[in-house]
């Protein structure tokens, strides 16, 4: 479980996050949504320790993340997997070498054990047999799946995904969403996804946090979205005229708010 309380972050005189408090439970897909510039990426970077907040606390299972010494922080980070928006695969390494990198760096497994683990992860993301390919030879969706395979290779307890569906077609997005959801449940991971993909919100949003102008303005799950009276949430979720028409049609056909 990850718990944050009273997080405040500003860049110069511009506040980006104001008094953010939330809990992210294991085995659930926690989504942080919001308009561009709402502070989603900053919050995710704070959670993984790439930047530090001005105020507030971050707890990983009651361990104060911000008070950890460098060595302990690195140990904790071995339990963290992250999928980056651009996948962040190392261009000069093959798919196998990319996924094996954390194993090479942190484990004493034999070559065969590492190879087996890599193949298991590739199989889990349905990409068997692409071990020798380079990232540049893969499609965007495949790169994301390799990114997921690398993120889960050390069996992490926490998975962070920054815009996992950006640049992907709706069908591939769905595959990625389902994959993340399944992996989260299988490994009882605490998964936090930063997205503005509405399909993701409605499909896998176990716990959805809406950020607006640096503050949490709504929190709930995917089933509570339609019945919410929060105007900012509705403006965000049903931003396109098509979705508005769809929503109006649903309501006129008897959907209960």
């Amino acid at each position: 479980m990850i718990k944050i309380s009273g997080i405040y972050k500003s860049f110069g005189n511009t506040p980006v996050l104001k008094n953010i408090s939330a809990e992210f439970q294991p085995g659930k897909t926690n989504l942080i949504i919001g308009k561009s510039g709402a502070g989603k990426t900053v919050l995710l970077k704070l959670l993984v320790g790439l930047i530090a907040p001005n105020e507030g606390q971050i707890f990983y299972n009651k361990v104060d993340f911000l008070q950890l010494k460098k060595k302990d922080l690195r140990t904790l980070r071995m339990k963290v997997g992250m999928l980056f928006q651009g996948s962040a695969l190392f261009d000069s390494l093959t798919v196998e070498e990319n996924i094996r990198f954390p194993l090479d760096m942190f484990t004493d497994l034999t070559k065969k054990e590492k190879s087996d683990r890599v193949n298991t992860c590739l199989n889990r993301v349905s990409l068997d047999g692409i071990n020798a390919k380079f990232p540049s030879e893969l499609s965007g969706g495949m790169q994301k799946r390799v990114g997921i395979a690398r993120a889960i290779v050390l069996n992490p307890s926490y998975l962070f995904c920054d815009e996992p569906n950006s640049g992907l077609d709706p069908k591939t997005s769905l595959v990625i969403d389902e994959l993340i959801k399944d992996i989260t449940i299988e490994n009882n991971m605490t998964t936090i996804i930063n997205t503005h993909d509405m399909n993701s919100v409605m499909e896998i949003g176990d716990n959805v946090i809406l950020l607006h102008e640096g503050e949490i303005c709504w929190q709930g799950n995917k089933d509570e979205i339609m019945s919410s009276e929060n105007e900012i949430l509705h403006d965000f979720i049903f931003a396109s005229p098509f979705l508005q028409r769809l929503r109006n049609a649903a309501i006129s056909n008897g959907f209960q708010k």
Binding site: G49, L50, R74, R77, V80, A88, D104, M105, F106, L154
Partner: protein, 248 residues
């Protein structure tokens, strides 16, 4: 303002070097990276070092022969001057200035590109000490391989001097060799290696610092690469002066 900025950079540089020279997570991974970097720096720079050294030696011989023309100084001094100029100054300094342009800009671009593509963030989140993994092997490889390159440069440069002066009739082969063997001070070779070690450390660490701290896009990456070369060159020349003052 400028001094504050300089001190700020110096502080950040020292902190980065402190992080870079901490205990590796896995020695074998670092060892492999050191070997790869040694190959890239050493083999990759051999041709350019060879060409430049050859011409430096040749030009030194011809220029000195021109200065000697009509004087009472014996011709074999050409060999002596080429040897000492090369060992004391030209081989370490010119080689490292050239390497700052070739290897330094390459390192700054490589690390800067990794920063921009979030590769460094990815490694940090995995728990890797990125300063150590990305910088230490490069610096270690450089301080091992650059003195070897400088030694090769010294030999080639003397060879260049021979080629430019003996076949053209400026002096005989015997005279050139006599010059090479005259007034030899092994201490000069020691000074050459001290210089090459210091320059190797400076050019790699400064270039890595520039790349590691890239913020922004491709324009900033280009600036970092240029800064890596310019600052490394200035620091090499400054260090050259200081070493000369201290060691001579």
């Amino acid at each position: 303002m400028v001094i504050t900025k300089l001190l700020d950079h110096l502080g950040k540089y020292l902190i980065l070097m402190g992080n870079a020279f901490s205990k590796p997570e896995k020695t074998s991974m670092y060892y492999r990276e050191v070997i790869r970097q040694m190959h890239d720096i050493g083999v990759g720079s051999l041709i350019i070092v060879f060409i430049i050294s050859l011409f430096i030696g040749a030009v030194t011989a011809i220029q000195f022969a021109y200065q000697l023309d009509g004087t009472l100084v014996p011709d074999y001094y050409i060999g002596y001057v080429v040897r000492d100029m090369t060992i004391i100054e030209l081989a370490p300094t010119i080689t490292c200035l050239v390497l700052a342009g070739k290897v330094g800009s390459n390192m700054a671009s490589e690390i800067g590109g990794m920063r921009q593509k979030e590769h460094i963030d990815a490694m940090e989140i995995m728990g890797v000490n990125t300063a150590a993994y990305l910088i230490m092997p490069k610096v270690l490889a450089a301080v091992i391989i650059i003195p070897i390159l400088v030694a090769i440069a010294a030999f080639v440069s003397i060879g260049g001097g021979f080629i430019a002066s003996v076949p053209t009739g400026l002096l005989s082969g015997q005279e050139f060799v006599m010059g090479l063997r005259s007034f030899f001070m092994p201490y000069n070779v020691f000074m050459m290696f001290v210089k090459s070690l210091v320059f190797a450390f400076l050019l790699t660490s400064i270039s890595c610092y520039q790349g590691y701290n890239v913020k922004g896009g491709s324009i900033e990456l280009g600036k970092a690469s240029t800064n890596a070369v310019v600052i490394s060159d200035i620091m090499i020349l400054l260090a050259d002066y200081l070493i000369a003052v201290v060691l001579i």
